[in-house]
Symmetry: C2
Subunit: 143 residues, 2 copies
């Protein structure tokens, strides 16, 4: 099981979001090759702008582990994390982040300063086209 496999799992979550009319972003958190949390964007359903896929995955993974810090964990997320989610990732001290599509507008990597925890390694553009296509298709339906 590699990055493309786990990104496929995150894409599956994104498709669930799509199906219920949520902006289609999905995430899974993996520890030692096992998925310990999965989530998709629920901002509309929960009426809560903080309910991004990553935020829920962090909370859920911490619940599963019984500890706040996501040491040795990898976050797979279909869209580059925004500043809120990157800021949350900092606090979790997560070991690695793999994202799909980039987000030039609100993605954290547009910032000058080191946002992520120094312990966090980042890999971008994994199955980016599938993620982008899902988002494009969602917004083309809406507009």
């Amino acid at each position: 099981m590699d990055d493309a496999y786990f990104m496929g799992q995150a894409l599956q979550e994104a498709r669930h979001a799509f199906d219920i009319g949520e902006v289609p972003v999905g995430a899974v958190i993996v520890l030692h090759n096992r998925i310990i949390a999965r989530a998709h964007n629920l901002t509309e359903t929960l009426n809560d702008v903080t309910a991004h896929a990553e935020m829920q995955a962090f909370t859920s993974a911490a619940n599963t582990l019984g500890g706040k810090y996501l040491i040795d964990c990898t976050l797979y997320v279909t869209l580059e994390p925004c500043m809120m989610c990157a800021g949350a990732a900092f606090w979790t001290q997560i070991s690695r982040i793999v994202f799909g599509a980039d987000d030039p507008k609100r993605g954290f990597s547009s910032l000058q300063k080191q946002i992520l925890h120094p312990k966090t390694e980042i890999t971008g553009e994994v199955r980016a086209n599938e993620s982008k296509e899902l988002l494009r298709s969602f917004f083309s339906k809406k507009r």
Copy 2:
């Protein structure tokens, strides 16, 4: 009722956090001179790094209002918001943020780029000394 009064309410929340061994940060959200949400940091209690005072206040205010956006609302928070909370504030489109103590290490204003929503006005250093003193006293007990 002015900024100092509402910051006093946020400080009261911070003191609740202090009393239960949480990093003492408190927040209230005000709409038309009425407090619609109050919260304090609960990262230890909830075992969740995303449970900052501001995050909970945003969620709670959106619940009260029945809408995701905090238009015309003011967030009073005893410590300068971190990047996660500033990123969340962006998504809420909150109209104003008033903070107490600055946070040169993880505060959002250390970033080069515009983090907050362009509609959000910011006021810092309101009753900053009281907030700082509470934090200083908390960490001096711990270390």
